[in-house]
Amino acid sequence: MLKTLIAGASALALTLAVAGSASAADKPLYGALMKTLSNPFWGAMEKGVDAGAQKADVELFMEAVESDQATEPQLNACNTMLEKKPAVMITAAISSTNLLPCLKHANELKIPVVDLDGNLDPEITKKAGVDVAFHIGSDNQAAGAKAADYLISALGKDAKGSVLVIEGLSGNITGAKRANGFAEELKKAAPGFAIVASLPGDWDSLKAANITNDTLQRYPDLAAIFCANDDMALGAVEAARAAGKDKLIVIGVDGNVNAVKSINAGRLNASVAQLPYLVGMQAVENAKKVLAGEKVAEFTYVPTLVLTKATLDSKTDPLLQYVK
C-alpha cells in the first residue's frame, strides 16, 4: 500500500510542479484576487489585469474562487495570498464585507489595497478601519440610465408602453444600481413608459426566460425588457422571440461575448458594455502609480459603451477594442 501511496504522491507532485512552475524574477509581485472565472465578464476582467501587468512589467499572482457565492473560500484565498507578501492587493470582493479582515491585515503589512470593480462600500470599510488606496469600476447607475436612453432613442421620447425590468440577485448592489438607474432615467426622460414589473432574475438566464414568459402572459403588448446583466438578457430575448415577439426590445448590461454574438445575429437589441477588460488594465496601471507614490483619484469610473448592431457594424468607436 505504501508503494501505491508513494506512486500516487509523486504523480501528484509532478502535476503540481508543472501547474505551478512560476517564474521567480526580481519583478515586483502584484496580487490579484478575483471573484470567479466561470463568467465572461470576469474572464475579460482577468485578461485586462493580465494585460495591465504585462504593460507595467510586473509579476502577477492571480487567484479566484469557484463561484461568486463562495465568500469564505475567497477570504481564505485572500489570507493565503498575503502569505506571499505581494506589493499590492487588487481585490474584487464578493460582498462588501467578506474580505475585510484580510484587507485589514494587508493594511497592517503596509500592502496597499485596491477595490476592483467597486465592490467595497466606503462607509463599511471606514467603519472597519480598512484603508483602500482607490476604487475602480464601472458606474452601474449610469449603465442603467444609458440603457433607458437607448430605449428612448429607439422608440421615441413620447412613446407609450409597458416595460419589464429583470433585476439581478436580490440584495446585490450592482444589480440594484443598474435597475434603479434605468427606472429613474426612464421616469425622468420618457414618462410615457410604465414599468409593469421589476423582478429578481438572480443573474440566471433560465429564470429570466421564465419571468419573460410569465409577464408576456399578462402583458402581451410588452414594449421592452431591461435586464441587469447579459446572461439574463439572453434568456429573455430567446423567450421573447420564441413567443413570436420580434418587435420587443431587449437590453442587457455587460457587453459580454455571448451578447455580442446575439446582437450580431440580430436578436438582442443592445447591451451596455461595461468594458471589464479596461477596468482590469487600468486597475494595474493605477496600482503602479500608487506604489510609485503618485496620487490616484479615490474613485475611477471607466466609461461604458452602448453596443448595438449599428455600433458593432460601423467599428468606429475606439472603445470597441476593449470589448472582449
Binding site: 504522491a9 503540481l16 481564505n76 506571499k84 479582515p101
Partner: protein
Amino acid sequence: MSAALSPPASPRSWRQRVFGAATFRFESLLVLATLTIVMTVLSPVFLSVSNFFNIVLSTSVFGVLAIGMTFVICSAGIDLSVGSIVGFSGVVGAMTAANLNLPWPVCIVATLAAGAFAGWVNGFIITKGMIQPFIVTLGMLGVARGTALVLSDGVSIYGLPPEVVYLGQGRPFGVPAPVIILLLTALVAHVLLVHTRFGVYAQVIGDNENAARAMGVRVERHKTLLYTLSGLLAGLAGLLFAARINSGEPTAGLSYELTAITATIIGGTNMNGGRGSIVGTIIGALIMGVLQNGLNLLAVRPFYQQIAIGAVLVGAVWFDRVNSKEGWRR
C-alpha cells in the same frame, strides 16, 4: 435502558483505548503527510507557522460542520441542511446584535439556538414522520436558506459586537480563535463519540437499528438528539463564519454540507453507519484545507482544486476498500 452496551471489557491496545474501537483510517494520515511534503517542496511559503494557522483557520467552519456530520453519518443518517443552517443561524445572530441592539451573549446564544432548533426540527420530523433523513434535511436545506434570505432581505447584516468578532478574528496567544474553538469542539466530540453511551449508541444505531432497539436504546429520542447536535454545531459554524467576516450573510455556507460530508468520508467514517471517528474527520478536513491552501499558493485555477478534492475523496474510500479486511461488507 441497561448498561449492557458499555464498551467491551476485553483488553484493548493503547490505540483503541485513546481512539476507540473504531480507529481512524491510518492511510488518511499518510495522505495528509504526503500532501504536506509535496506542498512544502513546491512552495517555500507553505511550511510556516502563520500558514499553518491559516490552513486550520480555513478549515474551521466546515471542520465544525464535519464533526456534527460524523455523528449523523455514523448513525447511518445524513444531514444536508448544515450549510443552509450556517447562513440561517448567522443571520439570526447578526440581527439580534445589529437590528435589535441586544448584548453579545444574546447574539452567541441566539446563533447557537437557531442552529440547534433547526436541527431539532430535522430530528423530530425524521423520527415522528418516519421519513428518510435525506428528504427531511434536503427540505431543511431549502427552508433554512430561504428563511435566512427572508429575514435579511437578501442583504448581509454588517456589524457584530466586538466580543463576538473576537471569536472569529481574535488571536489569543497568537493562535486564531476559530482554530482553538475547532480543536476544543473536536476534543469534546471525540470523548462524546468514543467514551460515552451517547456516542456508542449512535454507532450501534448506525450498525443495526433494530438490534439497538432490542437492546433497549431509545432510538427515536437518540436520533432526535443527534440531529439537534448536528444543528447546534452548524450554529457554531455559523457563529464562526459571521464572526470571521463581521456580518451575517444569508448566502453563507452555500454547499458546505457537501464539503463537510467529503471531509467526514475522507476521514474514514462509514457512509452506511456503524463506524465513525472524529480524529479521522479532522484529518479529512485538514487534507482538504492543505489541498486548497497549497493550490492557492501555487495559483492553480480553482477549477483544478475541485478536481483534486473529488479525486482524493474517491481515492480515500477506494484505498479503504482495498485494504480493509472487511472488503465490501460494511
